[in-house]
Symmetry: C2
Subunit: 248 residues, 2 copies
């Protein structure tokens, strides 16, 4: 199962969601590979790894084998395809053919879940992920600009489904950075649940400084602060992902 | 003076800073034009405007005149070049020559400040702004990933200065979404001030739900909640910008 974590709006919790979903699924004995397709390399550094050399970019360009790039994160129980400089070369060289999406999809072999983190845009790197993916998880900050961008994102997913990848579906929308004390968050939640109904996960990730702290320790929050509300929320989210993917 | 608000890290407060700097400078009797160079069009919608038709993209492509695109925001006291669909055509058609940056720079005629909001990436649109700009304001969320991206951003600015625009300088770094109760924020602030010294503005924008609410009313926070700490912070920031630009 290839899950793409995407939203062109910046700073909505894509990387935080990709990292914590990977860690939580691994704790539930799924075999998981996390691929960092963002040149910023936040998923890579947020797990305490250094930029790959070679990296996911050189694998997608066909210049390196998967085994040369892949890192085994022993104590977290899942593997990582790290970001690095070659992602920028992939961006510059992207021919738009199906080679890169095919290579990305091939990484799923031997895993239950391949989770792909993407940059804040709908540029070539995100399109490679959407062309290769089975389903998309959309983290959504419960705020005005993020809500506004949702319609454009859904149109992009429709376009990719029509033109390149007929099996691509929206697995669900995850509300993140949710501060229940604010009217704004409750309004945005009500609006999103009205429009998207069941496609909005029940789990809601609260705003929590633990999530902002965890990357500086190179750990997912489910390891950094295992009893915290943020950790509970990401475990609840992972259980819902399993239900939607495996029960189907 | 052409000020580019840039940071490839997503969700750090670029749009919020561009909109509130424009509004605050206008209240201090400066003539201000805000240009929304982000296809997401958050600065445009956050000011209650609809996507331009024609928009800033068609102006930069040379297909429309500035007067056909420009909107006068009477009650806010400044003008806007709205984002729209043509920004995506500009992205697709970007020839990399100097035409688009020259047209962007020409918009500054007749204004004291041209403020340019950019998308979360260092793609063609941000590079057009950096090639045209006099100085860059870098909003920085006081968190780990944002701090990590700063070195890459400074390298990009150096590269643009060497290759395309020798007068481009870093006007300063503005700490945003600052929650003084957290150790993380204070640690990041100490780190940034140690490395960048005077180039970090004294003004610090606190995390405030007023800033997240304001765009849904189509208003900058300095109009939406004029007595709030967030509004105070953006006015203090605007005064520092004036000192750095006009006293020099
Ligand atoms: N629920 C949360 N509560 C508080 N802080 C959070 C939460 N989720 C993420 N963060 C922090 O907010 C910032 C933005 O999150 P993150 O980097 O995961 O978003 P992103 O969508 O991946 O950003 P980009 O668009 O740049 O890729 C980070 O500093 C992260 O640590
Ligand atoms: N100081 C603040 N306190 C609380 N919320 C804020 C603050 N500044 C901005 N926001 C809110 O945080 C979100 C991100 O801010 P904004 O959209 O301005 O960032 P950006 O850098 O322009 O994002 P992008 O990378 O997508 O362009 C928005 O919903 C905004 O309303
Ligand atoms: Mg990210
Ligand atoms: Mg923005």
């Amino acid at each position: 199962m290839i899950l793409v974590v995407a939203n062109q709006k910046g700073g909505v919790g894509k990387t935080t969601t990709a990292v914590n979903l990977a860690a939580s699924l691994a704790e539930k004995d799924r075999r998981v590979l996390l691929a960092d397709l963002d040149p910023q390399g936040n998923a890579t550094s947020g797990l305490g790894a250094v930029p790959g050399d070679p990296d996911l970019g050189s694998y997608l360009l066909g210049e390196s084998g998967a085994d040369e790039v892949r890192l085994g994160l022993e104590d977290l129980g899942f593997d990582l395809m790290p970001a690095g400089e070659d992602l920028l070369s992939l961006l510059a060289a992207y021919p738009g053919d199906g080679a890169a999406p095919r290579r990305l999809a091939a990484l799923a072999q031997g895993y239950d879940y391949l989770i792909v983190d993407t940059p804040p845009s709908v540029g070539p790197l995100s399109l490679i992920a959407l062309a290769a993916g089975d389903a998309v998880v959309v983290p959504l900050q419960a705020e005005y600009y993020a809500l506004e961008g949702l319609a454009a994102l859904v149109r992009t997913l429709d376009r990719v489904r029509r033109r390149q990848n007929p099996r691509l579906r929206l697995l669900g929308i995850l509300l993140t950075m949710y501060d229940r004390r604010t009217v704004l968050a409750r309004q945005v939640e009500a609006e999103v649940r009205k429009h998207f109904g069941e496609r909005v996960f029940q789990a809601v990730v609260p705003r929590s400084v633990r999530l902002a702290e965890a990357p500086s320790f190179g750990l997912p929050v489910v390891h950094y602060a295992p009893g915290s509300p943020a950790s509970w929320a990401y475990h609840a989210f992972a259980r819902e992902v399993i239900q939607r993917v495996e029960a189907a």
